[in-house]
Symmetry: C2
Subunit: 198 residues, 2 copies
């Protein structure tokens, strides 16, 4: 069921995105010119406090012209480890320094179009440093118990924020519906994910 890639060439190279066209052969023998974008990965974190509130940013996205709550997440810069990038992004965008970051989830946000990978980490504490360096929105700590309602109201629409918060919400509920603490010995998404920064 593999699509055979006969060639791939750059059509337009932007600083952090390479627009390409691939000649792919489908399993039934048909050929297709498939556009794709090769771009840099991003890293971010779900940061919670001891009251099970989560650190979110209410921000506007000019590309979609829409508002929504998002976890802090941003580009992994050249030579940086994803874990360090996640810590830096949380700090720059929220003004809070996260406690110990453990890998939570790896997400391909849109594998129909790009090879971007989002590395999401989890911290259960944070220290206030001051106002954020990148003041892109309103910073707030919101209860995890209210996440589902925010989603249903259309206030969380960012894909990786949805995946990450729903994953943690499911974790919180546990199989018996009781609250459980996060289990650091649980196998995490390490297979096939290079550079997760353990």
């Amino acid at each position: 069921m593999l699509w055979q890639v006969h060639s791939e060439k750059t059509l337009y190279a932007a600083p952090s995105a390479d627009v390409r066209i691939a000649d792919v052969e489908l399993p039934d023998g048909r050929h297709r010119d498939h556009h794709l974008i090769r771009t840099t990965p991003a890293a971010g974190a779900v940061v919670t406090d001891e009251q099970d509130r989560v650190l979110l940013i209410w921000r506007h996205r000019f590309i979609t012209d829409s508002w929504g709550w998002e976890i802090p997440l941003g580009e992994v810069v050249e030579g940086e480890m994803p874990q360090a990038a996640a810590a830096r992004e949380v700090e720059q965008k929220t003004g809070w320094r996260p406690g110990l970051l453990r890998p939570l989830l790896a997400v391909q946000p849109d594998n129909r179009l790009t090879d971007t990978l989002h590395y999401v980490y989890r911290a259960e504490s944070a220290t206030r440093l001051g106002p954020p360096a990148d003041p892109w929105g309103r910073i707030d700590w919101l209860p995890m118990s209210g996440i589902r309602r925010l989603i249903d109201n259309g206030d969380i629409i960012c894909g990786t924020t949805l995946s990450s918060l729903l994953y943690v919400a499911l974790d919180c509920l546990g199989v018996e519906g009781r609250k459980t603490t996060f289990d650091p010995t649980r196998p995490l998404l390490l297979r096939d994910i290079p550079g997760l920064g353990l």
Copy 2:
């Protein structure tokens, strides 16, 4: 906190993706050349049966060179309603015709780069038609109770599949940890989402 967009122009126009550059002014007055891609929306569905198994496709993505379980999802074609696109995509990619499709979730898979919107629907039944027209992978019905394990094994990495399955998994668990049926009267993600096809 709005980024003011002074101009936006096309750098490269592909059939279903328009690569653009925008001159944006950040809240602190700095200007930034921001690349973005305007592209078509996609629609798909979480289809379950009476045994709480979900219809998934085990497929390879050549762009990321990775395998994973995914819900059926594909491009909304010109003039098509998202709901009709979701039904067509399920049928083409799995060979199953979904029962009544209700809106589940709207996802911006990567609002840092593109304006793509994924419309995800939910069906609780399906009828087998035959082999899929697009045989891109192995079709299977997998128990919802095993979704979390698949994620932790790295077998589900597609962003919109993660969001959609975790949302349904949380729904199944319910607040008391008991299984609840899906509530069709619950407010759904309709606000600000045009053309959801109700």
